[in-house]
Symmetry: C2
Subunit: 375 residues, 2 copies
């Protein structure tokens, strides 16, 4: 970083005093001489709450500085509950109480990050449109902050954006500054890292690669109102319908059943998988020509689709991209698996303290310690 020794000593001592890092002796390196101290984040002492609001499932985790999972909980979300933002916020606040009850003495919650399936305005976290939840213009972050009563900022973002952030920082995209992340769920979400930063666009609605039009003339109708979106041709519903199954009975298991049938040689399932893979290849090819990424990462249910149909996807990409745009390209599956979105929500929760550690740490302790039995 071009900083001299005394500058670094000063910075480390400020961070140590604030309780964010600790200096430790390194493990024996086998080399002679006095070993340098190693600076590590105090994951046990400084943490965030990360929430993943799925369409039929809620997940929460307490995640320490550095990305370590300290605690987690999860529950199903019923159709009735999901339509009410206040109910969803109450369920998440319940998770928070539960997880904060077991924290170590003196530990501090420094942020809250929430992932949602919808379009979120970046400036204030307003949930503009979350069709699967039935939400329009919901100030969900403010409602959750009110119910948590913790006087720390609650940040909200789109789940695929956070997935991209997570894979970029701690998963299959580590070390790459240009990353396209495709997240298959009920729909297909996307997140794009451009020059090391999340692509948000003017208001935060960027990266909606699931609504790229791949089949405008005779494509399936999409939930967004358009025809032939990538999500309508290569999403869960399209796979299930093409395999002759109920397209509404979505979920990881339904997708797994089709993939497993295809691997057993079931011709209908095989044709469905190939059809969906070809459309996925078309969409991915366009994204490669547009973004010239180092890596494209398939996450959520697209992980399984890619693992069993990599050959047709690669073949379509090879036919439909510029040679130079793919010469340094890697195609990968998410390495964080089901945790991708929670890890991204945690990174969002940490964003304030990482931007300005000493200013942020000042206002964090107090309030939630009331809820903690450990003093």
């Amino acid at each position: 970083m071009g900083l001299n020794r005394s500058t670094i000593l000063g910075l480390v001592s400020d961070l140590t005093e604030a309780g964010l890092v600790a200096e430790e002796l390194p493990r024996d390196t086998g080399r002679a001489g006095r070993p340098s101290l190693v600076v590590r984040p105090r994951s046990d002492q400084v943490y965030v709450l990360a929430f993943d609001v799925g369409v039929d499932r809620l997940a929460a985790a307490r995640i320490g500085l550095g990305g370590q999972f300290l605690d987690r909980c999860e529950s199903a979300l019923t159709l009735d509950d999901r339509h009410e933002p206040t109910v969803v916020a109450r369920l998440l606040a319940g998770f928070a109480d539960q997880m904060l009850g077991t924290t170590e003495a003196g530990s501090r919650c420094v942020g809250v990050g929430v992932a949602l399936r919808g379009l979120v305005r970046h400036a204030d976290g307003l949930v503009r449109y979350a069709p699967n939840m039935g939400w329009t213009d919901q100030a969900f972050g403010a409602e959750l902050a009110r119910q948590l009563g913790m006087s720390i900022p609650v940040r909200v973002d789109n789940e695929a954006n956070l997935g991209a952030l997570a894979e970029h920082m701690r998963g299959a995209g580590v070390g790459a500054d240009n990353v396209v992340y495709l997240h298959g769920d009920i729909g297909i979400g996307g997140g794009v890292i451009v020059d090391g930063r999340l692509l948000r666009g003017r208001d935060g609605y960027g990266g909606e690669v699931g609504h790229m039009i791949v089949n405008p003339r005779d494509g399936n109708h999409c939930g967004c109102g358009a025809q032939g979106c990538l999500e309508a041709e290569a999403g869960e519903g399209a796979l299930l319908a093409a395999a002759g199954r109920d397209p509404r009975a979505t979920g990881q298991e339904a997708v797994h059943a089709v993939v497993a049938a295809a691997e057993r040689g079931d011709t209908v399932a095989l044709a469905a998988l190939h059809r969906v893979s070809d459309w996925l290849g078309v969409g991915t090819a366009s994204l490669i020509n547009i973004f010239n990424p180092s890596v494209v990462i398939f996450g959520g249910i697209l992980r399984e689709v890619f693992l069993s149909a990599a050959a047709p996807i690669r073949s379509r990409i090879n036919r439909s991209t510029l040679d130079v745009a793919r010469e340094s390209l890697r195609l990968r599956v998410s390495t964080l698996g089901d945790d991708t979105v929670l890890v991204g929500a945690a990174e969002l929760g940490f964003s304030d303290i990482l931007a300005d550690p000493l200013a942020t740490i000042a206002y964090t302790p107090r309030k939630h310690l009331r809820q903690s039995p450990v003093r």
Copy 2:
């Protein structure tokens, strides 16, 4: 900028001493009190050479700091000449001699920017692939630098990237941090500004929106080898072919003839224009969902297409984009017209001096003054 008065005085005096800016009395404002001096770039004294290498036309300009055209020349490029990078470089060096012969005493050339129709590696300006020129892996910038003999850097980039930069800094995209620029030429090039910066991707090949696949199943074959690229459905060749004209007789005039015929009510031309506009709308819709831009700008021949077919383009965009993604969106045509690419090449030429004015100015004068009659 949060700088205090004495810091600004110091900076301005450094820049004045380096000959980059001058302080002047403002025009009479009609207000009482001593007027503050106005700092202006010395456009007449500090300039770059900008080159636009078209497929059938070469253009060059001497452009002063601040974007002012000081001189220009242009000539046709024959089929035989365009295949030889050394010949093209010699023609450009001839333009340079001509323009440098009329410079003011003491004026300085601080950079050279070149726009090319092709994929250019950002790290070193290597022209990886320029199909219309027949070039593969040509170190054109180095060859031009050799022939210019001016010991200043020669920067090379893709013409649509530079068009995007120009419209962003001095045209229809001023004030917008998220801009999609579509440039119609023989093909369709694109340049995207994300958060105020040009999208380049890993190696500089990003922004190739003309090769987004819009019609994978029964689309036209594209020069890049793929099927159904936006450029193959909505480019010059597609318009001319759909209008029953010779798709190889390309050029602004040929496009103008089809648009004029459509405006006179020629049904074949009208149908061709609508067909192309619909594909342009499909591609643009996908880009809006992906980038959530403030503004989409149509340049080159797409300027004329948009001006006479805005309604069908808007209609397709309205049907195929997410509501929230287009709520603050403007659709515009290029305001720099035929100069867009040259203005962008000039900005590229100025990039070193803008990044570090005082370091850059040191190595610039001498060599080319030999070529100038004014001492």
